[in-house]
Subunit: 200 residues, 2 copies
């Protein structure tokens, strides 16, 4: 049985973006199934009573520099978005709607959203941008536009966010193998050793 | 000219302990001077308006597990201390007093303090423990005991803490090469590439 890795992220997270570029090749190399699981980092911060990272003295200034350096370290193109942070509810609702129809297309859409935000400086908070990016991957733009207003589509994201927090997820990216959580793109090395060794 | 790495840490920090075990060999391998710079993580948290990590919902439970897994990953023995967090003022005042007399002895003392706390579960918050650990490395116990009450020794630590925060340091461990900061034992890979390449 291949190992399943749950990849929890928020489309607004720079480290989530770097992780999205790395997890596909890692999963292919190790023969894992990777299940993408967007959640809302804002909901986690509320549960933690934490302030947004960029507003924290000292940490905010460091993070800005570390995003750029970490992207270079991992060989991933990165441009600091002019809109930051950004609302990701529409992009993440669309993700689950696509995933339920075609997971392969949904992952392509997911990478396209990340790149639109962190390379092309697009406004991924705008539903029109989200629908365009999905359509470029082959999704039905009209059906998606209609779906984004559905209560069931809204509930789907809410249920996923609640489940992620209940599983102990609080940061983006977090990788889960069974109950074992790995928080941060800087835990890819531990994740790989865990998968290869069946724990360590 | 060899590169100088400033190693900022708090003796109460599990990731600082792992870093202390790794930075000596890394420095020797790359031909760097490593300057140990204890600071008070509590002062940084106050400046940031942050709650102690272990008290943060979700993050606290994750951190407990990540400390142990990260120690195994890095091949460093680790036992969760029964007293956690712990006051490190005496241990850090003693460090600078020792450093000003014999940096090589001070680093041996520093490793001994970390191991006493994170392997032997010793009460490093107790000045008597601190003096014993220093004496075991060859320090003059009587002179150190007297020094721990000196205003100049207290001021030395305070000045170092203020300087660390002014330089942007907020977490343990943080490595600095000139103005470039690397926060976390999980940034040792970026630190190494930075030193080898003169930046990246």
């Amino acid at each position: 049985m291949p190992v399943t890795v749950h990849f929890h992220f928020d489309f607004g997270s720079p480290y989530g973006y770097i992780a999205a570029e790395k997890i596909g090749p890692l999963g292919a190399r190790l023969g894992c199934d990777v299940v993408w699981k967007p959640f809302l980092i804002g909901a986690a911060m509320k549960a933690m009573g934490s302030a947004p990272m960029m507003e924290v003295p000292l940490k905010g200034a460091y993070a800005k520099r570390d995003f750029e350096r970490s992207a270079r370290f991992h060989g991933v193109p990165y441009r600091a978005p002019s809109r930051f942070p950004i609302g990701t509810v529409a992009a993440q609702r669309a993700f689950y709607w696509l995933w339920d129809r075609d997971p392969v297309l949904a992952k392509r859409y997911g990478l396209a959203v990340f790149r639109a935000y962190f390379v092309d400086d697009s406004d991924i908070g705008d539903a029109a941008t989200v629908i365009r990016l999905a359509a470029e991957q082959g999704a039905d733009a009209g059906a998606l536009a209609a779906a984004l207003g559905d209560a069931a589509v809204k509930d789907r994201l809410k249920t996923e966010v609640d489940a992620a927090l209940a599983a102990g997820v609080f940061g983006s990216p977090t990788f889960a193998v069974g109950d074992e959580l790995f928080w941060g793109v800087d835990r890819l090395d531990q994740l790989e050793r865990w998968i290869v060794g069946g724990g360590f």
